[in-house]
Symmetry: C2
Subunit: 326 residues, 2 copies
C-alpha cells in the first residue's frame, strides 16, 4: 500500500503501533498534539514538531518570508497551547533551502519567527541549515516545561460535556483562497492565514479551570473534533448555527462566492482550540476566556452536525488529510 492510499492518519496509526512502548518516563506516547515525557530533573516536558513544505503548506507567491517564519513557529506553539500551555519554551529550526534564495529573505524569515517567539516566550536556540534543491521546507521543534502534573490530551472527553471553541473558524481557509486569487494580506482573513495566533493563554487557563480535553484546529473542526472522539471513545454533536464565524469571513466568502459555514466546518489552519469541559467548568471558561459553546459530547462515535432546524447536515468535506487518504 502506498502512502497516498493509506493517508496521513492511516500512516500515523501504523507508526503508533510500532512506537508504542512502556518506558515509564514517556508520559504521553505518540499521537497527541505533543509528546510529554519526564525530564531527569523530574518535571514534565511537552515536545512537539511541525514542518511546512513549499507547494504543500505554502506558496511563496503569496506568503512573505516574514509570515512564513512567524507561522512556522506559531503552529508549534499552538500544539503546546492544546496541551494546556507552557510558560516558556525553546525551539530548533531546520531550514531546507534551494540555492537561489537571497540571504536577506532568510533574515526576514528569522525576524518573523523571532517576532512570534517574543510574543509567546519561545526562544530559538539553534537548528540546522541544509540544501534542498527542489523544495523549500521549514521544520521546527519546540520543547517547554509543563507547569504542573496535569495537561490536556485528546482522550479526556466524556458524554454530556460541552464542546467549546476559542475565536472564530473558517477565516484561515477563506483567507488562503483570497490570497490565491490575488487578494492582499491586509484582508483580516488573509492575515489570520498568514499570522495565526496560537491560543497559549487560553489553553493554560482552560486547563486551570478544569478542562477535560483539547486539540488545536489545524486540519479543520470536523477532522480535529473527530480526533477527540476517536481518542476519547465518544461521539460529538455540534450545532452549525452556534459556530463562531467572523464578519470578515462572511464578507470575504461572499466576495469569493464561497460558503463561510463550510470553511468553518472543514477549513484548516485556524489554530483555534477546541476545549471540552463539564458544564460547570465550561460556564467559567465561557465567562472568563470567552470560549463559545458549539455542542456536546455524546455516546457513540463520530461528529454529527445539526442545522438551525435540528436536522442532521450531510457533509461532503470533512477536513484536510495531507495525503488525501480516507
Amino acid at each position: 500500500m502506498r502512502v497516498s492510499e493509506s493517508g496521513e492518519f492511516g500512516l500515523i496509526a501504523e507508526l503508533r503501533k510500532i512506537l508504542s512502548g512502556d518506558r515509564e518516563d514517556i508520559i504521553l506516547p505518540p499521537g497527541d498534539d505533543a509528546a510529554v515525557f519526564r525530564a531527569p530533573g523530574g518535571e514534565l516536558m511537552a515536545f512537539t514538531t511541525d514542518a511546512l513544505v513549499e507547494g504543500v503548506h505554502f506558496d511563496r507567491a503569496y506568503v512573505s518570508w516574514r509570515a512564513l517564519g512567524y507561522k512556522s513557529l506559531a503552529v508549534n506553539i499552538s500544539d503546546l497551547a492544546a496541551m494546556g500551555g507552557c510558560p516558556s519554551s525553546f525551539a530548533l529550526v531546520v531550514l531546507g533551502l534551494p540555492e537561489d534564495i537571497e540571504v536577506e529573505n532568510i533574515n526576514h524569515l528569522y525576524e518573523g519567527m523571532m517576532k512570534c517567539g517574543e510574543k509567546f516566550s519561545c526562544r530559538i536556540v539553534g537548528g540546522d541549515i541544509v540544501r534542498s534543491p527542489r523544495q523549500l521546507f521549514i521544520s521546527v521543534s519546540v520543547i517547554g516545561g509543563l507547569p504542573r502534573e496535569t495537561f490536556l490530551t485528546r482522550a479526556g472527553a466524556g458524554t454530556g460535556q460541552s464542546i467549546m471553541i476559542t475565536g472564530t473558524l473558517g477565516d484561515s481557509a477563506i483567507g488562503l483562497d483570497w490570497l490565491k486569487r490575488g487578494g492582499g494580506g491586509e484582508n483580516a482573513c488573509a492575515r489570520k492565514h498568514l499570522y495565526p495566533e496560537p491560543r497559549l493563554r487560553e489553553g493554560k487557563r482552560a486547563l486551570e479551570l478544569g478542562a477535560a480535553a483539547a486539540i488545536d484546529v489545524s486540519d479543520g473542526l470536523l477532522r480535529d473534533l473527530g480526533h477527540i472522539c476517536e481518542e476519547s471513545g465518544v461521539g460529538a454533536r455540534i450545532m452549525a448555527q452556534e459556530i463562531p464565524i467572523s464578519a470578515a469571513a462572511f464578507e470575504t466568502a461572499r466576495e469569493l462566492d464561497e460558503d463561510a459555514l463550510g470553511a468553518a466546518l472543514s477549513g484548516g489552519e485556524d489554530y483555534e482550540l477546541i476545549v471540552i469541559a463539564d458544564e460547570e467548568n465550561a460556564l467559567a471558561m465561557r465567562a472568563e476566556i470567552g470560549l463559545v459553546r458549539i455542542g456536546e459530547i455524546t455516546q457513540g462515535s463520530g461528529v454529527t452536525v445539526l442545522d438551525a432546524s435540528g436536522r442532521m447536515m450531510q457533509l461532503e468535506k470533512t477536513g484536510y488529510d495531507h495525503f488525501g487518504g480516507a
Copy 2:
C-alpha cells in the same frame, strides 16, 4: 547575496548575529553541536536537530530504508556525544514524503531508527508526517538531560593541548563512493557510511576525564577541527601520518583508485569525535577510551597539516559545505 554564494557557514554566522541574546536560561547559544538550556526543574538539557534530504544527503538507489532511519537518528545522537553525552534522550521525527512511497518502507525506516534508539537509549516519542512531493526528507530533533553542570563545546581548546580522535577517518566518504559505483553494503566502509556509530560512550568518558573541547566529524576533519579553532581562537597542527585510517579504507580506496588520506582529511560523515585535552588528561583518554593523538593546538588560527617529513601539505579540499560556499 544568494545562499549559494554565502555558503552554509556564512549563513549560520549571519543567523547567530540575529539570534544572539542574553536570556539567562540559554546556557549555550546557537552555533555549537547542540543548544543547551536550563529546564524549569533546574537541570541542563541538550537539544539538537539534523535533517537528511534526498539527493543531497542520500540517494535511495544505494541507501536502504532501514539504514536511512538508523542514520537519521544516529547523526543527532552524535551531536549529543560531542557535548559529552546524555544518558538518555527523546526524539521527534518529521517525515516529508512523496505520495508514491510504500507504507512498508516507512515501517522499515522506523525499524532502523528504533534500532539506533535502543542502542543509544533514545526514545522516539512522536513527530509529524507531511507531504513533500518533489523530495523526501527526514528531520529529527533530539533532547536529553546533561548529567552534570559541565559539557563540551567547540570553544574550550587552548594552546599546547592534544588533538585526539576516536576510531578511524575517511571510511564513510570512501564507503559512499563505493556504494555510488555499485558496490554492496557489506563492505566495511559502506557499512560505516550507512550505519555510523555515534560515540556517545566516548564523549561521556572524555568529559569525565577532563576534555577541554569536542566536535563530531560530520563535515570532514579539516572543516570540523577548523570550527574548534574559530570558536576557541586558536590554530591547530596535525600530523598526516598519525591520522587513524582503517585497513578497509586503504583497501577500498585502492580498489576505487582514490586517496585514503584525502578522504580522512576532508571526507564527511564519519561521526567520530575530535577531542581536545591537556596532555595529562589526554594520556588517560588514550589509555582508557583508545583515543588517538593526531596533533596539537597552536597559537594563531587555521589548521595546518604536516606530512611525514614535517613539511606543510598543500590541501585542495577542506571539507563539505552544503551550499558550496567559501
